[in-house]
Symmetry: C2
Subunit: 666 residues, 2 copies
């Protein structure tokens, strides 16, 4: 039997064990001293200061937006509602903060380890750095939702409290992702435009004034932003599953199931990360093994638990465990499809198209990105169908999302490892650690690119499932008897919803473009006005570049965020009503998922096509093909790291606001 | 009172009066003799031969695809069904054929008129050339559907016959659009890549071996392809409105209303084109006046007719005439929005972004295209809502589509005028008519670019309304009691439907890229192997280039076409059933419209940003900015003239197949 107390204790134990892992990993990273490396230390410090300054400013602006919502919720719906929202938001900020602290400690030590102890040691540090983020996300998620279920599962406001918690997480994630995304890509694009394309100096060259901003960007965008993003997906999938379980089954063992699954996933991830110390193989195999071990352990525990607790019907037909399997398998398959499109034959073809210039490279890259949406979406559609038919209706679909994300600790570890390796390469370059070190960090970085693309495919897949779960919860809660496609309100809602992903992509891409232009002007100015900069005898003014990205990111993240929050509210209170809002969710989810996949895969493919040429193919570095490929990569930057990820959150943020609106009236 | 015979006579009179206009315009064009212009005549002949050869081959392949469908329909559902399909298809081919004949006669005479008689004479010839296409489309549409209604309105198979007719039109249109689109853009992109970017010779320079292929492409893609496209929209909107009227009202005056409206539109268009002889102002004003006169006449006649016939309820509330007004106004407003995004401030900003290179130009162009989807879709959504609420439910929505397209004769005239002016410029350049002549044709061509973008916005807007009308007819006919968004079949259908526009765009863009690569290789080979080519002393081998585009277009159009036809059939007979197919239509329509708008507007803006720089701004021709803008324009080519227009037809083709499938069983 499941009772409140034993469930709560399990949640607490799992969460604090997770925090224990975080502490151990942190201490392992910090155990490596930085001695006699003044240059590297100084660069790492500049990166850390830039990142922390940005994060502080970003959090300040987010607070200004969060505060009035907190007050409204508090006065209108009571202190508990406000507290749920607040905790949801603050946990998200904490994930980003802790993860980024670890990343900025790990990057320089990864570079030093590569220099002093070789590939395995360097890999370990970067991997541990990622682990801090991974286990923080999972532990905060289990702690927050476990407590919420324990204290409020019997409250009539339970759904509303869950939505408020999810809303806090999603809102912060959206700003963190958009702000971080604009920061990182304005710096990256700006640095590339002048550095590689105009001045002809290599990436991460210390003479480039935008180089520190670029590295800061990796931390605030690819680490802190992504942490908040995945945390939000994790919460979103659990919230939708808990709401559906509670309203459909009225049994504690069902309501707690999503969290129990996440606890199993956390334990599996723990064994996955421990495997690193036992099975010592190539880095790529280690990352894979860790993931597969985590998923296998998760699956076995879940199977046993569901049998013992007698949850989910007979195994052969109509069993919820099918949904768990579907979630895990769909996640892996989508990861493999992503790997193919961003690392396989299509990338080679894309590289070859660069031989006739940038125009054909762009045409092929866009075409590749568009094509790459087909398989994942069809796989997901089939998965949704199967989870629905064999695994218990809409609850089955949302349980598939929970399963896909249950091993988030290890997924996120693998994901966060990438930017740390990237940063380590930058530090090694700037601190003149020499060619052999750079080769190691380059290898680790390239590996990170593949895992990042896979992680993105995974994130988008789980986002779709979570959004559909939230949509089902919305329909359930809103008491809509019918949400028919032939109703004009639904059709109008679908159209307006479909526009949003295009609009948000447009806004964020232009923000990156605008900020990159300012960066280019500043870098050009420094090259012209600072004597000795190009010769390497005078240092660049890095802070100015960091300040440009900071300012742009903080200013430009506000409009997309407000639009995303305001639209569902406006539609709900318009004559379109809850039918229109239902349509809006479907339209924005469909278009959002397609665009996000296209952008993630297209961007990843452009990046790797460039790397393929840089590896000496088709004329290698400096050739016309390379020049064309760099243009493609630059276009792909905001695709994969700004606009695409923003859409991921957009669809869940709008869904959770919808759920909040309909559960508010109860 | 309306009776069968008077309606049929009216349709016949209108159609044959329209054919009379076609004959008069043809004779006016041919009245201009080509004397002492051997060079121009020879070039024009080469274009005509290339275009006709392609069309013949294209029609042969379309026949191979059409024939088995014809046989299946004939054996299974009888000779009438087969005949409806056949006539729908053959009228589409005839529109393309007649229109292209006129265009290839008018292009050289426009150039000669510009040389001998000045701007107004040149404008008139191009305008008349467009008019042939415009009035052919309208007359064939009224003739075909008028006869169908007269003969079969009381048949139980009426809806099926209408669908079969529409299917014939849509199927041919899809192949004509995709084939023509791949031809024109492979030639255009190929010519630009080597000509402008590598060899540094201007557009339309006779030394470029791909130059004739480029001009042939204007004829087969922008004229013949577009004619079949707009004819298909025209038919689609009428078919959906007739089906809904017949099943909802069971009155002949309602069933015939869509055709009567089209007759009024045809008459209005006639007055519009006559205005050209009376009000002599600047070309842009003439094009505008003609359109506005046509719409005003159409509106006045429709209002009177609906009052006299007592159709559509009281005027103040719940009147169908509101739908007519909404259709006209939405069409005009979308045209103006398109004009803004492809000719206004955003284009200037796009041109400025070229100053930092191709990458920022592409980022801004994509962002512009994405943003430009918002206003038109929101306007359409509001229009749909208003047409539904104030104008009689789903029939009101489809009547808005009919109204938007009723003045198709003049819309299409304005649209077809553009490529003729473009071609005239090419001929003037190749025949060395000198700078003053080129200035006139350039002015007429630039005007054509704006009208083409407006026409595309219009085409997409009407496509959305027509597709929704067909969707409503599908729901009505399929006897679906409910098509609820919470049904898993519907959701899965929506996801799969959403993938299609991305997949078709990917396939067609890559086809253009592949064919352009082959073209580049061939042009490079000719520059290298034909001595004296670059010096202008030896002629290029134009036929080889035409053959490359022909072969590529014919091969590459087949897969997208078969996919589009097969998918709805597969879904219908799968476990997803008619619910899944309903979802599929909604998903493909939503995503198709958004992508089509983005591609049309983005492509138009890139083209005009390049022209803005070529006019001497931001460094003018040959500057780095210009180089970057040419890359953007090249990316935009398949956007606006291949993939975007294909989507336009895709959504209606799938809808009409769905309607065919459900009405087949009756």
């Amino acid at each position: 039997m499941m009772n409140h107390v034993s469930f709560f204790i399990a949640s607490l134990v799992a969460a604090f064990a997770g925090f224990g892992v975080v502490a151990v990993l942190f201490s392992k990273i910090r155990a490596l001293p930085i001695v006699n490396e003044d240059k590297a230390r100084e660069i790492a410090r500049a990166i850390k200061v830039g990142a922390m300054t940005f994060l502080k400013e970003e959090y300040r602006i987010i607070s200004i937006i969060v505060l009035p919502i907190l007050l409204i919720l508090g006065f209108w719906k009571g202190i508990v509602a406000a507290a749920c929202f607040f905790v949801g938001a603050i946990f998200s900020l904490l994930c980003g903060f802790i993860g980024m602290n670890a990343a900025t400690d790990a990057n320089v030590r990864t570079a030093i380890a590569a220099k002093d102890s070789g590939e395995h040691a360097a890999f370990s540090i970067a991997f541990f750095g990622g682990g801090v983020m991974g286990f923080s996300v999972a532990s905060f998620g289990v702690l927050g939702l476990g407590s919420l279920v324990y204290f409020f599962v019997d409250s009539v406001q339970f759904v509303f409290y869950l939505s408020a918690f999810g809303f806090g997480a999603s809102l912060v994630a959206f700003f963190a992702r958009v702000g971080g995304g604009i920061f990182t890509k304005s710096a990256d694009v700006g640095a590339d435009l002048v550095g590689k394309l105009e001045a002809g100096i290599p990436e991460d060259d210390p003479r480039n004034p935008a180089v520190i901003a670029d590295n800061v960007g990796d931390c605030v965008g690819d680490t802190a932003g992504m942490g908040a993003d995945i945390y939000e997906s994790y919460i979103g999938s659990m919230v939708s599953a808990i709401v559906l379980a509670t309203t459909m089954y009225h049994q504690l063992s069902y309501s707690t199931l999503p969290i129990v699954l996440s606890i199993f996933g956390l334990f599996g991830s723990f064994l996955g990360i421990v495997s690193h110390g036992i099975i010592r193989v190539e880095p790529i195999a280690m990352l894979r093994n860790a993931s597969y071990i985590a998923i296998a352990v998760f699956g076995a525990l879940t199977f046993g638990y569901m049998r013992i607790m007698n949850i989910g019907g007979t195994f052969i037909r109509g069993d919820l465990f099918w949904s768990v399997i579907i979630g895990c398998v769909a996640g892996i398959v989508i990861g493999l499809v992503t790997e193919y499109y961003t690392g396989g034959a299509p990338v080679k073809k894309l590289a070859e198209s660069s031989q006739t210039g940038a125009a054909t490279n762009i045409i092929y890259g866009l075409s590749l990105g568009m094509e790459s949406t087909a398989l994942p979406v069809v796989i997901l559609a089939m998965g949704i169908w199967a989870a629905f038919v064999f695994g218990g209706g809409t609850f089955g679909v949302s349980l598939a999302a929970v399963s896909m994300l249950a091993t988030v600790a290890i997924t996120m570890t693998v994901d966060s490892y990438g930017p740390i390796a990237d940063n380590a390469g930058g530090i090694a370059e700037m601190a003149s650690f020499g060619k052999p070190v750079r080769l190691i960090t380059d290898k680790l970085d390239a590996l990170g690119n593949t895992t990042a693309a896979m992680g993105k495919g995974f994130a988008i897949g789980s986002a779709l499932l979570a959004a559909l779960g939230l949509f089902a919860a919305y329909c359930q809660e809103s008491g809509l008897k019918a949400l028919e496609l032939t109703q004009v309100e639904v059709l109008v809602g679908i159209l307006i919803g479909g526009v949003m992903p295009f609009l948000i992509s447009a806004l964020t891409m232009r923000s990156v473009g605008d900020a990159a232009l300012k960066m280019v002007m500043e870098v050009r100015r420094q090259f012209k006005e600072i004597p000795g900069l190009m010769e390497g005898t005078a240092p660049a003014d890095y802070e100015r570049c960091v300040a440009i990205s900071t300012k742009a990111a903080l200013r430009e993240m506000i409009l997309p965020g407000l639009l995303t929050v305001a639209l569902p509210i406006a539609v709900f209170y318009s004559p379109l009503g809850k039918e229109g809002l239902g349509g809006l969710l479907v339209g924005s989810t469909l278009v959002g998922v397609l665009l996000a996949l296209m952008m993630a895969n297209g961007g990843g493919a452009w990046d790797n096509a460039k790397k393929y040429i840089e590896a000496g193919n088709l004329g290698g570095k400096g050739s016309d093909s390379h020049h064309a490929a760099v243009i493609g990569d630059t276009v792909g930057d905001p695709f994969k790291d700004t606009s695409g990820p923003a859409l991921n959150i957009l669809i869940k943020l709008m869904s959770i606001i919808a759920l909040l609106l309909v559960s508010m009236g109860k």
